[in-house]
Structures are given as C-alpha cells and as structure tokens.
C-alpha cells in the first residue's frame, strides 16, 4: 500500500516557481499493478523520485509499508571507476541482501562476461543498461517502480528481461509511469492520469487510457487553434 496525502512539489525556475505536483492525495492499494499516464513534463519522474524517497515533497506525507525499488533500470547510482561486481556488491550491502547469490544473479543476467570485473566507465551504453536492469531485478522488492519500461539491448536481452519482469510480477506489484498507453495496458490493471499537477485514479485501466487520450486530443486541438490563429495573424501582417 502506498499513500500520498496532500503532496505538493514545486521547483524554482528562473521565471518563478513551477508547481509539478499540486496537493495530490491518492491511495494505491497493494496487490494491484498501477500505471500512471502523463504527457512529457507532467511530473511522472518527479512522482517516482518522491516515491522512491530520493526527494522529499515540499509539503504533505508519503506513506508506504512495502519495500519499494528505485526506478527500474536507473543508471545514476553507480560509480564509474568501480567494476560491475563492486557496484553490485554495494547495492547488495545497502539492501541487506545476501551478497553471494545477488552477485551471481547479476553476473548471469547481465551477461557481461569478463567485463563484469572491469570499471563501469568502460562499458558501452547497452552493457551499462543491461547491468542496471540486472541489479534492479536482483534485489527483492514488494513493488517495482518502473519509468517508461523501455526494454534495452538486443532482442534476446529484451526477451530475457521481459521474462524476468513477468516473473517478478507474479510476486511483486508494479508501479509504472509512461506516456505510452500500450505499455500501461500490457502491464497494469489499474490506471491513473497525471495532468496539470493533479492525479486522477481509475479502477479500470481502460478508463484511465480513455481519459488520457481525451486530454491529448484537446491538447492537440488547442495547439491547432493556436497555430491557425498564428497563421491568420501572419496573413494580416503580410497584407
């Protein structure tokens, strides 16, 4: 169970404060896979960062009684100078996991071969992504936070990742943010829409997708309106 109560998050910008999340209250029940839809810049990643505890809200409370992952496949937490093995060890230690099986899983799943003992900065971006996913999957979480769920690597890795992901879904919940209704439809059974700082939860994922499509349609229309207006003004200026 994850609960947000009157959560507000504002960032300072050069042109004054920008409120990303505006007094959000929502209850995400355990046992459901929730997909949060939002256009680019709607605050999806901010929401994930708040949930995983990387950032604190300006006001309001976030409560959860489950072990939440960090955003899946996130690559920020690794030290380039250390090898994959050492980075994996560090994660195992801070999560209190048994180091040996953890390392073995990461080594096997990432398929880095002898690069596993090379510094991470020598990895190609594909290798780095494989490593990051392997580490996220090695830790045992009650709920996985997933940002965009973009599978990485070649087709074979994608398949293996998909398989491991399905396996985790059997025992753990998923909380996914995406701007793509298809990914949400595939992995989630409950939906929410994040729009202009507010979140609306729908018990049925299809309802959430409909609401999201509606927002996109009206946004497109507004853009078209602005464009035609602009054009007519241009015409006036020309004549």
């Amino acid at each position: 169970m994850i609960e947000l109560e009157h959560v507000t998050k504002t960032y300072r910008t050069r042109k004054g404060p920008h409120t990303v999340l505006d007094d959000i209250s929502v209850h995400l029940p355990a046992g459901r896979n929730v997909g949060i839809l939002g256009v680019n810049g709607a605050g999806k990643s901010t929401l994930l960062r708040l949930l995983s505890g990387v950032e604190k809200p300006d006001s309001g409370v976030i409560r959860n009684n489950v072990r939440l992952s960090w955003p899946l496949g996130f690559r920020g937490g690794f030290q380039g100078k250390l090898s994959g093995r050492e980075n994996a060890k560090f994660v195992a230690r801070i999560y209190g996991a048994e180091v040996q099986p953890f390392i073995e899983f990461v080594e096997q799943f990432s398929e880095l071969g002898k690069f596993f003992d090379q510094p991470i900065y020598t990895y190609s971006s594909g290798m780095r992504a494989r490593f990051a996913f392997a580490v996220s999957l090695a830790a045992d979480f009650d709920c996985y936070l997933v940002d965009e769920a973009t599978a990485v690597g070649d087709q074979r890795f994608k398949d293996r990742y998909r398989q491991a992901f399905e396996e985790r879904k059997q025992r753990a919940d998923i909380l996914m943010v995406s701007h793509n209704p298809e990914t949400i439809r595939r992995d989630c059974d409950m939906g929410a829409v994040l729009h202009q700082g507010k979140i609306t939860l729908y018990d049925d994922v299809e309802e959430a997708i409909d609401a999201y499509m509606e927002i996109n349609r009206s946004a497109k229309q507004a853009a078209r309106l602005r464009q035609t207006k602009g054009e007519s003004q241009d015409l006036k200026a020309d004549s």
Binding site: V54, E55, W70, G77, L82, E86, F90, R93, I94
Partner: protein
C-alpha cells in the same frame, strides 16, 4: 517502536559500512595494497616535517622531545584538515548514491568522517610506536585526554565541513576553497610547531581565539608528563565543537532538497 528504531539503526549501520568499503575502493585504487598507501601518505607528511625541524637544529620544545612534539601536533591537525575537506565534498562526490532510498546525506558525511578518523588514529598510533622503536621514550600521561582532544577536533571538522557542504548549491567549488582559505591559515596558527607559551603575549591572545590551538595544547598536556599548558580552555574548544557540529547538522537539514537536486 523499539524494533522500528533498532531496524532503522541496523540499516544505517549497514549503509555506512557499505559506503566506507566503497570509499576505500574508489579512493585507494583496486589494489589490495591500496589502503596501506592511505596510511603511508600522512605518515610521510608528518615524517617530512619532523625531518625538516630536526635538521634545522631544533632540540626540543618546552621540555618535550622534538619528534613526539611534532607528531602530537601535526597528526591530529592533518586528521582535522582531511576530515574537513572530505566532509565538505561529501555530497558533491557521491550525490548519485542518494538515488538509493537507504542512503541519506548524513550517511555520506559520517562514512567519510569515520574513514578519515579511523585512518588517522591508526597513523598516529603507528607513528608513536615507530618513534619509540627509534629510541624515543613514550609515556602517555592521560590517554583519555588525548582521545577527547582528537574527538573534539573531529567534531569541529565535521561541523565546519557540513556547514560548507550545505553551501555547495550556492558555491559549487567551495571544496576547493576550504584548504587555501581555512586549512592553510590554521596550519600555521594551531600550535603545530610552537606552544602557546613560546608566543609573544599579544600574538598569543589573538591566536587563542583558534579552538584548535586549545585542543593541541590540551592534547600535548595530556600526552606528556613534561608539559602542562596553562593556556588551554577545554570548555571554549568544546563549545566550538558542539556549536559547529549542531549548526552543521541544522544547515544540512535545512538545505536537504537543494543538496539533493543539484
């Protein structure tokens, strides 16, 4: 409740331990011998100063044997300076680790502080043993006093370091300014190479505003049977340590979000 607290403590202990292991690895290289270098480097630094002063013909200071006089001044000061630098840069160097929800700002600070303090205590012990091996008479009068002085210096370093660290969002290069603007002046005014007694009264009154001078005087008074300074005020230095440490913690807490987002 009790289990929740002990649980949280267990996590924090685990995190700090993991951070220390990791710092050791990144800083001292991937060789198994890396940590030995961490001991040799400061030991050499002290050794160079001892050599210079011995060759310059100084015999002893206020009745203390010269080598031990220098060791008891330079080593705790280097420990202070290193901790100050490390804590000031703690968040800048490791911000990416804060993505793991278990890792807090204070874990980054205390992992570094511990690593520096433990290393320098070991260096101090090694140097004292080494000088004994070379023929110095080592009789410590009050070991507890030595420990208290060392501890208060580390607390002050941590406090100042956290204060500076919390300024990182406003002044990103602050960790480069700490040594030239604070470390170096303190190096010459904290009594590493002199005792308060040897100073002209006017200078002494001025330098006694520096809490480190008090602590080094106190440390030497505790270490040597031959030396008892009348100039140190442990309450004054203790107040400095407590005040900077509290302010440092407060500044980090207030600036938490800025430190995380930068």
């Amino acid at each position: 409740m009790a289990t929740a607290v002990s649980n949280a403590l267990a996590i924090q202990g685990r995190v700090i331990q993991a951070l220390m292991l990791r710092e050791t690895k990144t800083r001292y290289g991937l060789l198994k011998l890396g940590y030995v270098w961490a001991l040799i480097e400061p030991a050499l630094q002290v050794g160079v100063f001892v050599a210079i002063f011995t060759l310059a013909g100084r015999e002893s200071a206020s009745g203390m044997p010269l080598v031990l006089f220098l060791i008891t001044g330079i080593t705790p000061f280097l420990a202070f300076r290193k901790s100050l630098q490390q804590v000031t840069a703690a968040v800048k160097a490791n911000r990416q680790l804060l993505t793991f929800p278990q890792v807090t700002l204070f874990d980054l600070v205390f992992a570094r502080l511990w690593l520096e303090a433990v290393t320098m205590v070991v260096v101090f012990i090694l140097l004292v043993f080494f000088s004994q091996y070379l023929g110095e008479q080592v009789n410590i009068e009050n070991l507890l006093g030595v420990c208290i002085a060392f501890l208060l210096m580390q607390l002050t370093a941590a406090g100042l370091g956290m204060l500076f660290c919390s300024l990182t969002p406003f002044l990103p290069s602050i960790h480069k300014l700490v040594n030239p603007f604070l470390g170096r002046p303190l190096f010459f005014t904290s009594g590493l190479f002199f005792t308060a007694e040897m100073l002209p009264p006017a200078v002494r009154d001025l330098l006694l505003y520096n809490p480190l001078l008090h602590l080094i005087e106190y440390l030497r008074s505790s270490f040597f049977y031959e030396f008892h300074s009348v100039y140190y005020d442990l309450g004054y230095a203790g107040a400095w340590a407590l005040a900077t440490f509290t302010l440092g913690i407060a500044a980090m807490t207030v600036n938490r979000d800025r430190l995380l987002n930068r």
